[in-house]
């Protein structure tokens, strides 16, 4: 076989329970019943009288699975292996879901090994690790999986001792005979347990949450922690295949452009360069297909880069050659000044604006952003004899798997996608163009190929975060109450990646904090003027929530300032009395998305938004006397079905330099698994939030991204980020459905920061990044 790694470092060959791997040592649990896809939304757990919550998980490719025969293997010595079916990009999910299984099955975590699944939705259930969905779609099936395993072990012990099931109890990796005190370890019972079918879901007894050993405790560290600290963790860029060659690709400088001709004479003279190969590009819209270009293949990546520098290429820049982000901004601002497609229309906003005592307006600009994961796009593939084996840091391994088969023209069953750790992703690695590049190059050359995108490639050919102009007009009455709200959002849609005619925000984007605005305003209208994309638009952590939340939460503080109110009080007044809202009932809203999950489970609960707002205000000491140059800002936003508020203390010096002495963020994400990783996600969002608020922007001229590395595209460094980030998690029991956490902490950060800047300086930031706008 072609995939082989240095022994002891990493074994990529999957060890799927039920396969031939390590049969001699590992006791395999093999399904006696078909591995059932549980449609969670229709199930009911009678064990403790608790109902499951319905989710949209069954609508995802592959749905969910809960069969222990699929996910768990127990060695005769008692060592337990649990499959992680989602991908690890830094959220901790590779640890958290197996931890749920372990807790429910009463396994001792110190004897649990976590194995990454291959990319195969049909086998492992849906693996699209995006949309902050992993916990909310998988905590129920994983609890069921663990509970089933525990009950099978108990049944095996009861049979062995000839007693009733009620006379035995599984406890920390062993089963106890309650009458006699006899004990059987999990290893001893594995053979008999494995011969049992999975009990029906209706019969499963979930643990009482007070008996959890790991869930909710934050005591379990990520499984790759040691390997990360010693350099042995294997990311996509680290995959090794015997005979592998290294490729970098010169891609069209304008997206959608085409190769006209090239001269590789000088390139082929560069030591270490072995071949130059054309990569076919797709036509616009590109979907997740390669951009095309000219690949330089060499003995190492450094030689390939040197060879690429010597290529002489003539490009046809194509239809996006005139894209200019300054001119485009003007067009978007003009559009925001005109009526657009009405996507929500409660009451009579136009009439109320006309009759209001006062109209307050503001327009906001949020630029394109690049994901800039520290591991750039990269993949390794070997295509030979009609098969493909690939190593991919993929967020959508199932789609990547199927598209590899499609571009190679081979059956999907001949494609293996092995999943590595992802060195950051933030939505970039939802797009698998880089994996197709590696496969096409391997097919062309006959050898395994590793494609690495340099940082310049990454920043200049990203699937960028959209660019957005947001205009809000509000009417206030003589008492200062907001009686009308009209919000126009103008932004290229990420759906343009799939459909070139898409000029309006997709319902998925409209549903990200725009048409689902929860404010208690009788006349509320949302419009979406048309806007065409001229670059690839992709998912960027929290997606359209970034511009929508920035505009809305900045504007709340602007309204407060204009009407002489306290910004926290204004925010709480607009959130209004505690209500449960169904956005599908908002007038004019169609195809409401709700993050793919049912409104019946996840309505908008304004009381939860109010509560997190109050928590952060209290924690940061809202209203306290501050040193000169300091200010407090606050913002709250529901996204991915979770409720997050952030309060920021900022200090601005005489020259306009910003420091951030303190951040408080309150999180209400329902039932949660690992509060320690919640904390790390929130800390990280404060850093990414600082970057996008202060520093980061991709601009275009003549269709070309003008930033090429970290000197032009500025992220946030340790000397400018908030180091004092306080995270407050709203406790939630099993009755509060789990919601998202990876993305939601990001949207409120930038408006909270800019509101704090206003409080400190009186300067309102309406255009990101802040850059030098505060310089004096």
């Amino acid at each position: 076989m072609t995939h082989m790694f240095k022994s002891g470092i990493f074994n990529f060959a999957p060890i799927p329970p039920g396969s031939v791997a390590n049969m001699s040592r590992r006791f395999v649990l093999k399904g006696f019943v078909a591995a059932g896809t549980l449609v969670v939304g229709t199930s009911f757990l009678p064990g403790k009288g608790r109902a499951d919550w319905a989710t949209g998980a069954a609508l995802m490719p592959g749905g969910t699975k809960n069969n222990p025969h699929l996910f768990i293997a127990i060695d005769p010595s008692g060592e337990v292996t649990i499959i992680a079916n989602r991908e690890e990009m830094g959220t901790g999910i590779k640890t958290s879901l197996p931890m749920v299984v372990a807790d429910e099955m009463e396994a001792d975590w110190s004897r649990v090994h976590v194995q990454q699944a291959t990319g195969d939705n049909e086998k492992w259930g849906n693996q699209d690790t995006d949309g902050s969905r992993s916990v909310r779609h998988w905590v129920q099936p994983m609890r069921q999986c663990g509970a089933a395993m525990r009950m099978m072990l108990e049944q095996a012990a009861a049979t062995r001792w000839g007693v009733e099931l009620s006379s035995v109890k599984a406890e920390n990796h062993r089963v106890v005979n309650l009458a006699t005190g006899e004990i059987a370890g999990y290893g001893e019972l594995a053979a008999a347990a494995s011969a049992l079918p999975m009990p029906p879901v209706e019969a499963l007894q979930l643990k009482n949450p007070r008996d959890f050993r790991y869930i909710g405790t934050g005591s379990i560290q990520i499984v790759d922690l040691y390997d990360i600290t010693v350099g042995k963790a294997v990311y996509g860029i680290d995959a090794k295949m015997p005979g592998m060659k290294f490729a970098v690709i010169a891609r069209p400088p304008v997206v959608g452009g085409k190769l006209v001709s090239y001269d590789a004479t000088e390139t082929l003279k560069v030591p270490g360069v072995e071949q130059v190969v054309v990569v076919p590009g797709a036509t616009w819209p590109l979907k997740f297909r390669p951009l095309g270009g000219v690949a330089v293949i060499a003995r190492n990546t450094g030689s390939a880069i040197k060879g690429r520098e010597q290529l002489k290429i003539v490009w046809d820049d194509g239809p996006n050659a005139s894209y200019d982000s300054v001119a485009f901004r003007s067009q978007m601002e003009a559009s925001a000044g005109q009526p657009g497609l009405v996507v929500r229309d409660d009451g009579d906003a136009e009439g109320a604006l006309k009759s209001a005592a006062r109209v307050i307006s503001a327009t906001y600009y949020i630029p394109h952003l690049a994901h800039a994961s520290m591991e750039p796009p990269t993949a390794t593939a070997h295509v030979t004899n009609g098969t493909c084996v690939a190593y991919v840091p993929a967020q959508y391994p199932g789609g990547c798997h199927d598209d590899l088969a499609a571009v190679l023209g081979i059956p999907a069953s001949n494609v293996t996608v092995n999943l590595t750790l992802l060195g950051g992703a933030f939505g970039r690695k939802c797009n698998w163009d880089f994996a197709l590049e590696a496969a096409l190059l391997s097919k062309a050359t006959g050898v395994p190929i590793k494609v690495v995108w340099t940082r310049e490639d990454d920043l200049q050919h990203d699937s960028y975060h959209t660019v957005s102009v947001e205009r809000i007009d509000a009417g206030v009455d003589t008492n200062g109450r907001v009686v009308a709200w009209r919000h126009r959002s103008v932004a290229p849609s990420l759906w343009s990646t799939f459909d070139g005619s898409q000029v309006h925000e997709h319902p998925i984007e409209l549903g990200m904090g725009f048409v689902d605005n929860p404010f208690d305003i009788p006349n509320l209208r949302c419009e979406n003027p048309a806007c065409a994309a001229h670059v690839r638009i992709g998912w960027f952590r929290s997606v359209s929530n970034i511009p929508h939340a920035f505009a809305i939460q900045s504007f709340v503080a602007e309204l407060a300032a204009a009407t002489g109110r306290d910004p926290r009080d204004m925010l709480l007044e607009l959130i209004g009395p505690d209500r449960v809202l169904d956005p599908t009932k908002f007038r004019g809203v169609t195809n409401f998305w709700n993050y793919g999950d049912p409104v019946s489970t996840y309505p908008i609960e304004t009381g939860r938004l109010r509560r997190v707002t109050e928590i952060v205000a209290e924690q940061i000491g809202w209203g306290r006397t501050l040193p000169k140059g300091h200010g407090l800002g606050i913002a709250a936003h529901r996204s991915f079905l979770s409720y997050i508020a952030t309060a920021v203390e900022v200090a601005v010096d005489d020259k306009g330099n910003i420091t951030i002495p303190r951040v408080d963020t309150a999180v209400d994400c329902g039932f949660y698994i690992n509060p320690e990783r919640i904390r790390s996600q929130v800390e990280g969002a404060a850093v990414q939030g600082t970057a996008l608020a202060k520093n980061s922007e991709i601009t275009f001229k003549n269709g070309r991204a003008q930033q090429s590395n970290f000197d032009g595209y500025l992220l946030a460094r340790i000397n400018e980020v908030p180091l004092n980030v306080n995270v407050h998690i709203v406790p939630a029991d099993w009755n509060v459905p789990s919601s998202g956490l990876g993305e939601p902490p990001l949207p409120p950060f930038a408006p909270a920061l800019c509101n704090a800047v206003f409080a400190a300086t009186g300067k309102r930031i309406r255009s990101l990044p802040i850059g030098n706008q505060l310089a004096t």
């Binding site: 240095k6 990009m89 830094g90 901790g92 560290q221 990520i222 922690l225 990360i228 600290t229 010693v230 350099g231 042995k232 963790a233 294997v234 990311y235 860029i237 680290d238 090794k240 030591p271 270490g272 003995r299 190492n300 990546t301 450094g302 030689s303 880069i305 040197k306 800039a372 994961s373 520290m374 591991e375 750039p376 750790l421 060195g423 950051g424 992703a425 933030f426 690495v452 340099t454 940082r455 310049e456 790390s680 800390e683 990280g684 969002a685 404060a686 850093v687 990414q688 590395n709 970290f710 000197d711 992220l715 946030a716 460094r717 340790i718 000397n719 980020v721 908030p722 180091l723 980030v725």
Partner: protein, 150 residues
């Protein structure tokens, strides 16, 4: 032919001596713990020690290494228990973890030269290392912990 001494072992490389050390470590020697981040010395992901000094391996031509001792993350400690590595685990510093080899190499060089750095010295030493996940709070905590002796 370039000869290299990396983590106490001798290697030879028969390719272009002007290729950056980073790519020879990763692609020729298989020492993939050292990571590529930017290629021009702006992010610190590729940090290694050269005769004890933290240095960006993407900027150093392999032919310039000469007889100097290269230490990568794989060779920082025989048992993986350098105080910085231990502190990194104590604080659960990583999220995705990709940049952390470079962060750890930078931090360990700081503590070798300045065992009890001030907060300002920590920030100054670490501001060349980018973490996109945003683990800076934990990185700062880990370095403080390591300098206090764990």
């Amino acid at each position: 032919m370039v000869t290299l001494r990396v983590n106490g072992q001798d290697y030879t490389y028969d390719g272009d001596p002007s290729v950056p050390l980073l790519w020879v470590l990763r692609d020729e020697l298989g020492l993939t713990g050292t990571k590529f981040g930017c290629g021009i010395g702006l992010c610190g992901a590729c940090t290694v020690h050269l005769d004890g000094a933290a240095l960006r391996s993407c900027l150093l031509e392999v032919g310039q290494v000469g007889g100097k001792e290269v230490v990568t993350i794989e060779g920082l400690s025989p048992d993986g228990n350098h105080p910085v590595q231990v502190a990194w685990r104590e604080t659960s510093a990583p999220q995705c973890g990709y940049c952390h080899a470079g962060q750890i190499m930078q931090a360990s060089a700081l503590l070798a030269s300045t065992p009890k750095p001030t907060q300002e010295q920590i920030l100054a030493a670490m501001d060349g290392n980018i973490c996109r996940c945003g683990c800076y709070q934990r990185i700062n905590e880990a370095i403080n912990l390591a300098s206090a002796g764990v």
